[in-house]
Symmetry: C2
Subunit: 170 residues, 2 copies
DNA sequence: CTTGACTCCCGAACCGGTTCGGCACTTTAT
DNA sequence: ATAAAGTGCCGAACCGGTTCGGGAGTCAAG
C-alpha cells in the first residue's frame, strides 16, 4: 500500500501556474500570512506541499467574495491556533454580503442614470448638425439639479490598460 | 433693472459647503483642471463666480457616473477651446456604461455566491456544537473546486472607516 | 561554456480621488 | 489683544492586491 505520492511538493512556478497566479503573488501571500512558508530545498527554493494549491485557491476564493488578505490572515491564524473562528467568519461574511448588496444598489442607480444620459445624448446628437456642439455636458449639469448633490465618491475600482496579463474573455 | 446680483462671488469654504465638498477637493479640482482658477481678492483668497457651483456639481455628477478627473479635464479643455467634443463624450459614456454593466454582472455573481456560502454556513453552524470548529473555510475551499479558478482579481474599491464625512444613509 | 528558464529577495510603483500634515497669513468674534 | 475660524500652498499618505525593477544565485539543455 505504498501511496502513489504523485509529487510530494511543487516549486513556486509550478504552484503559481496551477493556481493561475503569479509567483510574485505567492510570495506576497506568504508575506501577508495567508500562505504558510513552505520548507526550502538545499538551494533555497520553496517546496510547497500538495495542499498548498488548495490553500491558494481558498485564498483566491475568499478574495473574490470580498475578504481582505489581512482579514484572511487573521482568520487563518486563529484557525491554526486551535481556535474556532467560525462565528467570526460568519459575521464577517455577513458584513461582506451587506457591503456587496449596498454596492450593487449604488451601481444599479449609476447604470440607470448612465443609460438615461446616453439615451438623451443620442437623441440630442441626432438633431445636432455635424461638428456642432450639442451641449451634452450641460445636459449632465441639468440632471444633477434633479438628483441633488448626492454621490459623494464613486470610487469603484477602475481598471485601465493591462500590460501583459491577458485577462479578457470575461 | 439693476440685477439683484445676490452675491457675485463666493469663497472657497462657501462653495465647498454649497457643493458638499471639502475645500481641499476644490483645490484639487483646480489643479486637475476641471475647475477654472477663479480670480483672487487682494489677500489672495479665491473668489468663485456664481456658476462655479454648477461646474462643481457637474464634476461630481460626471465622477459619479464613472468619468475620471483626467478624462473630464480633457473634455472640458476641448470644450473651452471651441471644439465640440460631444461625439467623444458620447463614446466615452458608452464605454463607461459597458464598464458599469460588466462590473454589475461580476458583482451579481459575487452576491449570489456569497449568499449561498452564508446560507450553507448557517446550516453548518446550526448543527455544530458551541465553540466547535465547523470548518466554514473548508467549505469555501470545496466550492472553489466547482467554480474552477476564475476570479483573478476582485478589486472593487473597498471602503473602510470614514473619518468625518457622514455618508451613510445610502 | 553559454543560453535561457527559474528562483530568491524586497522595496517601490501602480491606480485615483480624497485627506492630512504643517506652517503662515487674514479675517471675524470675544 | 487674543483666540478661533477661514484660507493659502503643496507634497505625502491613504487604500490593497498586484506588478515591476534589478541584481544574484541555480539548474538543465545545447
Amino acid at each position: 500500500m505504498v501511496a502513489p505520492a504523485k509529487k510530494a511538493f511543487m516549486r513556486a512556478g509550478e504552484l503559481a501556474r496551477a493556481a493561475g497566479v503569479s509567483v510574485d503573488t505567492l510570495h506576497h501571500y506568504e508575506r501577508k500570512g495567508v500562505l504558510a512558508a513552505p520548507r526550502r530545498s538545499a538551494n533555497g527554493y520553496r517546496e510547497y506541499p500538495a495542499d498548498a494549491l488548495g490553500r491558494v485557491r481558498l485564498v483566491r476564493r475568499a478574495l473574490s467574495i470580498g475578504f481582505t488578505l489581512d482579514e484572511l490572515a487573521r482568520i487563518l491564524r486563529a484557525r491554526g491556533g486551535g481556535r474556532a473562528p467560525c462565528r467570526e467568519v460568519r459575521a464577517l461574511a455577513g458584513a461582506k454580503l451587506a457591503d456587496v448588496e449596498s454596492r450593487l444598489r449604488e451601481l444599479l442607480l449609476v447604470r440607470d442614470e448612465l443609460r438615461v444620459v446616453v439615451k438623451e445624448w443620442d437623441a440630442k446628437l441626432a438633431r445636432t448638425p455635424e461638428g456642432e456642439r450639442a451641449g451634452l455636458l450641460d445636459a449632465l449639469a441639468v440632471s444633477v439639479e434633479l438628483n441633488e448633490a448626492r454621490a459623494p465618491a464613486p470610487v469603484w475600482r477602475r481598471r485601465k490598460g493591462r500590460k501583459k496579463g491577458e485577462d479578457e474573455e470575461y
